[in-house]
């Protein structure tokens, strides 16, 4: 059994807004192990970013946070802010979606990495600069000695994301959180970035969280998958479990929207309907208004994420036989579809 780096228990994050209380994260629990990747998928607004920004201690202001975030044995929600800050960037690093805007436009890339190093290590500038250059070399930047002196606007999108990864990994954190690291990049570059993250994961033996809209990306690199909907987990299991025997109709919809060679992008079936309000979520299962398989208990009590006869926990009231049958039918229908 791999060492557990991060254990989140019943995390809730609520924002007070003029329109009401936004329940962005409404009770999620999961773990991240050393040397493994947790894939987190869900539509826009399902609370993926807020969950992991909270883990990083980057949510503040109008937020109410409860639950436990146990990182290497300590509950981050109980630590004083200064100690959380000391962990941020050192024990765990984060890479964001848009590399175009995530680097400061007015500082040299090398200096921005140096700053990350010197925020946690008491070493001189020269030494930190050499570390930064070495890290840039490791993430595959050509001529890193010279490129470290460049400003971000002199980099391409893929190079900026490499620089962001270098910045997040330079202190060898135990946990790397990547929030849609490839969404803003070209398809060819996406694959390179994912490969780089894989390579760093095995080299540093850290844990990785990969947040994405795209189940296809998760399939290649994750050991575990959490499917999020409306601030909660709809389904949580190993990659093989979630991909081979998905249990939640929302996951089925996501799986059916993965582009494959046979089914080109314009033929994708997006899940019908719109994501629910997080201020007044639907009664019962938040997905039920959009669910083609809903039946009488779905708008009653809210289904919890638990073992329901399958091989991994899910949050759907359908009987396990029905789930197996419905998914098999949907799979068949999909196969018959003309390419």
């Amino acid at each position: 059994m791999a060492e557990t780096l991060l254990e989140v228990k019943d995390l809730k994050v609520q924002f007070d807004t003029p329109d009401g209380v936004v329940k962005a994260v409404d009770g999620v629990s999961f773990t991240v192990e050393r040397g493994q990747t947790l894939g987190v998928v869900g539509e826009s607004g399902s609370g993926k970013s807020v969950t992991f920004m909270t883990v990083m201690g980057l949510i503040a202001g109008n937020a109410r946070i409860s639950g436990e975030i146990i990182f290497e044995g300590r509950d981050l929600l109980k630590l004083p802010p200064a100690e959380v800050r000391a962990i941020r960037g050192d024990g765990m690093g984060m890479v964001f979606q848009d590399p175009m805007t995530s680097l400061h436009p007015m500082y040299r890339v090398g200096d921005q990495i140096v700053e990350a190093i010197r925020a946690h290590r008491d070493i001189d500038r020269k030494e930190a600069w050499d570390m930064a250059v070495e890290m840039l070399r490791k993430v595959g930047l050509p001529r890193p000695e010279e490129r470290a002196k460049d400003y971000p606007h002199e980099y391409s999108g893929g190079m900026r994301q490499r620089a962001m990864i270098a910045m997040a990994m330079v202190l060898n954190p135990d946990l790397l959180i990547a929030d849609e690291p490839t969404t803003a990049l070209d398809v060819t570059v996406q694959a390179q970035i994912l490969e780089l993250m894989e390579q760093l994961k095995s080299e540093y033996n850290c844990g990785v969280v990969l947040i994405t809209h795209d189940l296809g990306v998760v399939a290649d690199v994750s050991q575990k998958v959490m499917v999020m909907y409306a601030g909660r987990a709809a389904e949580y299991g190993t990659r093989d479990q979630v991909f081979n025997t998905p249990l939640h109709p929302y996951t089925w919809g996501l799986l059916e929207s993965i582009p494959t060679v046979e089914r080109r992008v314009e033929r994708l079936v997006p899940i019908e309907g719109t994501p629910p309000s997080l201020i007044n979520p639907p009664r019962g299962c938040a997905f039920h208004p959009r669910c083609p398989h809903r039946f009488e208990p779905c708008d009653g009590e809210r289904p919890e994420l638990e073992m329901r006869g399958g091989d991994h926990p899910d949050a759907c009231y359908l009987a396990i036989e029905d789930k197996r049958r419905l998914w098999a039918e949907r799979e068949q229908r999909r196969q018959k579809e003309p390419a």
Binding site: A86, R88, G89, D98, T101, H104, A116, A119, Y151, M167
Partner: protein, 321 residues
């Protein structure tokens, strides 16, 4: 870089040519009395007027006069370079008066700039960081007051309180630094503060807005994700980006102010360019009016150039083109 500066300096010259040309057109097209008549005294004879016209060069058509003016400006006249001609009023070289008054305006502008930056920037920062708190509301209330209170009202109010009522500050007028440094400082104190209030208010609002916007940028989130202390996030990452446009604004405001602060100089009776130009317009003293116009245009254009060059240093994305 050198080519860019040269091109911009040529542009400064062009601006001065255009704006002085407009001044000449306006002066000669405006239906007004003949300056020579005014200068000739109570009961002028035709011969006297004619003689004065000749002295002033008013006997030439206006475009010839303009040509002579441009020639003198760039090549110098009998009083040296740059040639600003002779005042219709005093028959003294305009240049001497112009430069001594520009010096007074300069002292006013520098002092006011120090005060408004020292007030506006910190107030803007604090209200951005303490957004929606009492201190933010108080600061923005002050800013609203500063933006809307007319300078002459503030000036007269200040004079009434500190000079006439409390008697702790000297009244209007100008004392040079070399003659009495303490008096110089006390006498400038009121014009500095009164003139700076409007700008301080404006800058506080601008800094607050810029900083709020910057603090929601992605790279601020990155800075926090690196584990930087919040102080460093704000002062190194936030301020760097949000003060850059303030530098531009400051250069333009300062250049504009060097051309004369008419109301402040009038209220506090300071012999600067602002009071000079008002008087010159009243007297139809063309060389003096054009002299101030040239200086003012030069300051504005010059500081625009300075700001543009500085901006390219401050923001690496900007390149001279």
């Amino acid at each position: 870089m050198t080519r860019y500066v040269i091109r911009r300096l040529l542009y400064v010259i062009l601006v001065i040519l255009v704006i002085t040309f407009i001044s000449y057109v306006v002066f000669f097209l405006m239906p007004s009395g003949n300056p020579a008549v005014q200068f000739a005294g109570k009961s002028p004879t035709k011969a006297l007027i004619h003689q004065i016209e000749k002295q002033f060069g008013l006997n030439h058509p206006w475009y010839v006069q303009y040509g002579i003016f441009v020639k003198h400006l760039f090549l110098g006249d009998q009083y040296g370079w740059p040639g600003f001609g002779e005042s219709y009023n005093t028959r003294e070289p305009v240049k001497n008066e112009l430069f001594s008054r520009a010096w007074v305006t300069f002292q006013l502008a520098v002092g006011a700039a120090v005060v408004w930056l020292a007030m506006g920037i910190p107030i803007g920062i604090v209200s951005a960081l303490r957004r929606r708190t009492l201190i933010d509301r108080a600061s923005m209330g002050f800013a609203l007051f500063g933006v809307s209170a007319p300078v002459f009202v503030l000036g007269l109010l200040s004079l009434w309180i500190f000079w006439q009522h409390l008697r702790i500050l000297p009244g209007t007028g100008y004392t040079s630094f070399s003659s009495n440094p303490a008096e110089w400082f006390l006498q400038f104190l009121q014009p500095w503060v009164v003139l700076s209030l409007l700008f301080a208010a404006f800058y506080a609002r601008m800094v607050r807005g810029n900083l709020l916007e910057t603090m929601s940028e992605d790279y601020i989130r990155t800075a926090r994700a690196k584990g930087l202390p919040e102080r460093r996030v704000v002062f190194k990452h936030g301020l760097r980006a949000s003060l850059t446009p303030v530098v531009t604004m400051f250069g333009m405001d300062f250049g504009l102010l060097l051309g004369g602060a008419i109301i402040t100089e009038t209220v506090f009776n300071l012999p600067g360019l602002g009071t000079y130009v008002v008087q010159a317009v009243n007297d139809q003293n063309l060389p003096a009016v054009v002299g101030v116009v040239v200086l003012a245009a030069f300051f504005v254009a010059f500081f625009n150039l300075v700001v543009d060059i500085l901006y390219a240093y401050l923001d690496p994305r900007v390149r001279y083109s």
